[in-house]
């Protein structure tokens, strides 16, 4: 028991808390010390309410002492991306627009974490309104990749991935609209899962693109990821797109060695870095060696995914972000004239460049005369992509690809070229368009930077993804890895 607490897994921490003498207060105090030592370098957290954390920890310790522990997450801290509502805590979405907003209500996942006895621990940096792949679009601060502080951590859940890789917290919530959990997980060498659309309630998740957004668990191991997923998945009457399917999604899959794995044709070619291709190929060979059936599958419309995504997601975003107008909450321009001028000026001042770019694009693709050529066409392409993925997943259990074509790039390297940045999500976007579950887990390094691979399954096949992940993880040394800081 000599290992520092910040290196332990959530599962192990839960076991030690249950067994004693470890208390949640001691654990949280250790993590707060770690926070003060490390967060400045990494920039993962934007806010940590230490008093609130310790009060939650004390309450947890009282519960456990009274024999009223609430399960494996009792007393375990979970850090939360700053687009998920926690009552009394900031909800900035890393935007100037909401810099002063304190949420008056709890998201459904926050309710679930409280019900599981977890500690709601701090607010994590992100790309503004979850729009970006490097967390450079945060209006609050930069976040750096713990494996190389000159590099980006990925995004938009870059704060979540960096916090895990830096040992700042054992578990984190992210959100994923086109890869925002999986891409930073890959860049930071951690595990991130985007559930089937509808498995986790979006109530309390600040909407970017409602038909694509999902909250998901992030951790340093598949086991921890599963632990958190189990706590989050439940029906919620406050989200009409959320359905009661946790039992189906989490029913243990059979023997992972019997999984049929499909390799999409051409996915290891285009723009994929040499070391990434090598690490992913090694992962494929590992599964083959375990007895899994490996086959190539065709996804002919895969090239449509990125353009389709940037039409659908921006269209929804242009409407979802309409509510930020300075009237009821958020940034209000000091130079207000009429109410409508006030709204316009507040929005011009409150939003960052990337958010404006996407609002403009989304407004354009929905506008009269263009909606048929762009939005309606994108919906048809989306249906086609979904149909192709479902057809492929009728012949294999999971699809295996790299998570991201190349490892983390340098801070500022792609800031001037948004189109180049959009290609970061080329492998992750289809799962959002098709509503499918997908997981990224580490499989190697490119130099000192982590590389991840990506598994996509049929709707509600989370258990299969987790089983495949555990099989790989058990045979490799990537679980629980943390960057030296």
């Amino acid at each position: 028991m000599d290992e520092p607490l910040h290196t332990l897994s959530a599962a192990e921490l839960g076991r030690r808390l249950a067994a004693g003498p470890l208390t949640s207060r001691a654990l949280c105090e250790a993590l707060i010390v770690r926070y003060h030592a490390v967060n400045k370098k990494v920039g993962a957290f934007t806010h940590l309410d230490e008093g609130d954390v310790l009060a939650q920890a004390d309450a947890s310790d009282v519960r456990r002492k009274a024999g009223q522990g609430r399960g494996p997450l009792e007393g375990v801290p979970v850090a939360i991306k700053d687009n998920i509502a926690v009552k009394g805590q900031p909800l900035t979405c890393s935007s100037q627009m909401l810099a002063s907003l304190v949420s008056p209500y709890d998201a459904h996942v926050s309710d679930r974490l409280r019900a599981a006895g977890a500690i709601l621990y701090g607010r994590l940096n992100m790309d503004e309104f979850a729009m970006g792949s490097s967390t450079e679009n945060s209006a609050i601060q930069k976040t750096f990749n713990p494996w190389d502080l000159a590099c980006i951590p990925g995004g938009s859940s870059g704060g979540s991935a960096a916090a895990l890789a830096a040992g700042l917290v054992p578990l984190a919530l992210g959100s994923d609209t086109g890869g925002s959990i999986r891409q930073p997980a890959s860049h930071c060498g951690v595990v991130g899962l985007k559930p089937t659309y509808g498995l986790i309630s979006r109530f309390g998740l600040v909407a970017f693109a409602s038909s694509l957004d999902q909250i998901g668990p992030m951790a340093r191991s598949v086991e921890d990821c599963e632990l958190l997923l189990c706590a989050l998945a439940s029906a919620d009457a406050r989200d009409m797109t959320c359905f009661a399917a946790a039992d189906r999604a989490l029913t243990p899959a059979g023997d992972a060695k019997k999984l049929r794995i499909g390799i999409p044709k051409g996915f290891l070619g285009k723009g994929v870095g040499v070391e990434v291709a090598a690490a992913v190929t090694a992962a494929i060979e590992f599964y083959r060696s375990q007895g899994c059936a490996i086959s190539e599958v065709e996804l002919p419309s895969a090239d449509l995914a990125v353009p389709t995504y940037y039409v659908v997601a921006t269209a929804e975003a242009s409407s979802n972000l309409g509510r930020y107008d300075g009237v009821r909450y958020g940034h209000r321009s000091a130079t207000a004239g009429t109410p409508v001028e006030m709204m316009t000026t507040s929005r011009s001042e409150g939003f960052g460049a990337e958010v404006k770019r996407r609002i403009l694009l989304g407004t354009f693709v929905l506008s009269a005369g263009y909606a048929d050529a762009y939005y309606m066409r994108a919906l048809r392409a989306r249906s086609k992509i979904r149909a192709e993925y479902l057809a492929a997943l009728a012949t294999v259990d999971v699809l295996l690809t790299p998570t991201v074509p190349t490892p983390a790039f340098k801070v500022g390297e792609k800031a001037a070229d948004p189109l180049q940045l959009y290609l970061e999500d080329i492998f992750t976007i289809p799962a959002n368009l098709a509503g499918l579950p997908a997981i990224s887990l580490p499989c190697g390094k490119s130099g000192h930077l982590p590389v991840g691979f990506h598994l996509v399954g049929a709707p509600l096949s989370e258990a299969k993804l987790l089983a495949a992940g555990r099989l790989f993880e058990a045979a490799h040394g990537f679980a629980h890895q943390q960057a030296a800081l």
């Binding site: 909401l98 008056p104 600040v206 409602s210 009457a237 409407s319 009237v327 009821r328 009269a368």
Partner: protein
């Protein structure tokens, strides 16, 4: 070349926005109602706080389907919501949830009754087709105060059913008759309260004119946000005259959105077609398509009340009521049902009961206040019978007492007044006041003979016998005096004629 107004035909279509009678808002659990402090009836969903999501209020959907059944529409298998995007401070999300492609009501028709030649004569009946009705959310209210603006979101998110007619209406009178029928249908089914003073019913009015006999529709204008039936009527009259004037002066009609100033009785231009909004409609991703089960439809079908004009025809044909009484009774379902309960308790005289209800009961209910307004030009009788002190079976008892000759019509008025005051049975009041009329033929014969023998009335007797019918009344006074007014007047009349004959 000049032409007369009758050379032109006006074509009217209405879009009627009705606040549904529900406990909660359309997509949030916040309650709503009239007369609360500003921003009292809000919650995170209503205010569009980040992360909140709409949830369809089943009650609002069911009330909408019920309306569809009331107007005989075929209920669709599914309905869905779209976002209508526009920026305005009274719109918390800067988009409105509405139904563009899959509305909850498709088709249907509303029977209307035009005014007759007089109040006692039934006017022409017509059917106005409903194009569709969609369920959407209301917005808040913006007001300007001093140097700033104030916004109240109590109304934001209130369920609104927008009922869109086909362009079937041909006059201001038809538009007015349509709205009266619609209000009766909505209130009688419990779909909406339609209190126009509270803004629960608002109307957009599309008007165009064409040469009589022409098929092609003229260019229409839309006058928005009319909040009373009279405003709709006045707008149609104004807009018809204006368009005729324009066309006859050789100008053309501009397709435009207009407003109405009720104080000045004048319309004005709000914006023309060039300024039309691009609402960027798209399917709302937060609300899945809603399947409407046939079980739900069957359950709601049972709640559809009898159509008011079917009821009116039944009252005239089966009960033999005069049109005037029937038309007053059927406008208010509660009143009609009250009447029918009374008529069922005394089936031999529905006309008598209708008389009491439409004259005495309505008058006293209105006078007692709180029970609602009587018939006015604008508002249909909002009489509430919940607090009516007289029960239907009690009124039936009163009518039966008069029909049986136990009390006179004059006595019945006194008994009714007491019943309304105390809620007692008619018979109990008759007994307590000793009002039972004297119909004892033997006793009355004796009194009649005594009075005839009195020399004081000899002159009246002579006049009667000389052919002055009215002279007989002079003999009734003394008889009533001797019986303390209880003598059965019909019997006395018979006896007098017998003895004087």
């Amino acid at each position: 070349m000049s032409s007369s107004p009758s050379d032109w035909e006006v074509v009217i279509g209405l879009e009627v926005h009705v606040q549904l009678h529900t406990r909660a808002k359309a997509f949030a659990s916040s309650p709503w109602g009239f007369g609360k402090e500003p921003n009292e009836q809000v919650d995170p969903v209503v205010l569009g706080l980040p992360g909140t999501l709409p949830v369809v209020n089943r009650e609002a959907v069911e009330k909408s389907i019920l309306f569809g059944l009331v107007v005989g529409s075929s209920v669709p298998e599914q309905c869905a919501w779209d976002r209508k995007n526009y920026f305005y401070p009274d719109n918390p999300k800067n988009y409105q949830l509405t139904q563009k492609d899959f509305p909850v009501v498709v088709g249907g028709q509303v029977e209307i009754e035009l005014p007759g030649a007089s109040r006692n004569v039934m006017g022409e009946h017509k059917f106005i087709r409903i194009h569709h009705a969609h369920l959407e959310e209301d917005v808040g209210k913006l007001s300007h105060a001093g140097s700033g603006s104030l916004v109240d979101y109590n109304r934001a998110g209130v369920p609104l059913l927008e009922i869109v007619t086909e362009p079937d209406l041909r006059s201001a009178a038809e538009a007015e008759a349509f709205l009266r029928s619609l209000v009766a249908l909505l209130t009688q089914a419990g779909v909406a309260d339609c209190d126009m003073e509270k803004g629960q019913l608002r109307c957009d009015c599309n008007v165009s004119i064409r040469r009589r006999g022409a098929e092609k529709l003229g260019t229409r204008t839309e006058t928005k946000n009319l909040n009373s039936i009279s405003s709709v009527r006045d707008t149609v009259i104004y807009e018809t005259a204006r368009q005729i004037r324009e066309l006859e002066a050789g100008r053309s009609i501009t397709q435009e959105t207009r407003g109405w100033n009720a104080e000045l009785s004048r319309g004005y231009v709000l914006r023309d077609k060039e300024d039309a909004h691009d609402y960027r409609y798209f399917p709302d991703p937060d609300l899945p398509t809603l399947r409407i089960s046939r079980e739900t439809v069957a359950r709601l079908q049972k709640l559809v009340p009898e159509n008011l004009y079917d009821r009116q025809r039944r009252y005239v044909e089966k009960f033999g009521l005069p049109f005037t009484a029937a038309s007053v009774l059927v406008v208010n379902r509660e009143l009609a049902e009250w009447f029918e309960a009374a008529a069922a308790a005394h089936p031999t005289n529905p006309q008598g009961i209708a008389n009491w209800v439409t004259n005495d009961l309505l008058r006293d209910l209105a006078a007692s206040g709180g029970a609602g307004a009587p018939l006015t030009d604008e508002v249909l009788p909002a009489v509430s019978l919940a607090s009516c002190p007289i029960k239907p079976v009690q009124l039936a008892g009163l009518v039966k007492l008069t029909d049986d000759g136990v009390i006179s019509k004059q006595q019945a008025k006194e008994v009714f007044a007491e019943m309304f005051k105390t809620g007692q049975e008619a018979l109990a009041i008759v007994d307590a006041k000793g009002l039972r009329q004297n119909s004892d033929t033997g006793e009355l014969e004796k009194i009649v003979q005594e009075v005839i023998a009195d020399p004081a009335v000899a002159k009246s007797i002579a006049e009667y016998r000389a052919g002055n019918e009215k002279a007989i009344n002079a003999l009734k006074g003394p008889i009533m005096k001797r019986t303390q007014g209880k003598a059965n007047p019909v019997l006395i009349d018979q006896l007098l004629r017998k003895f004087l004959g």
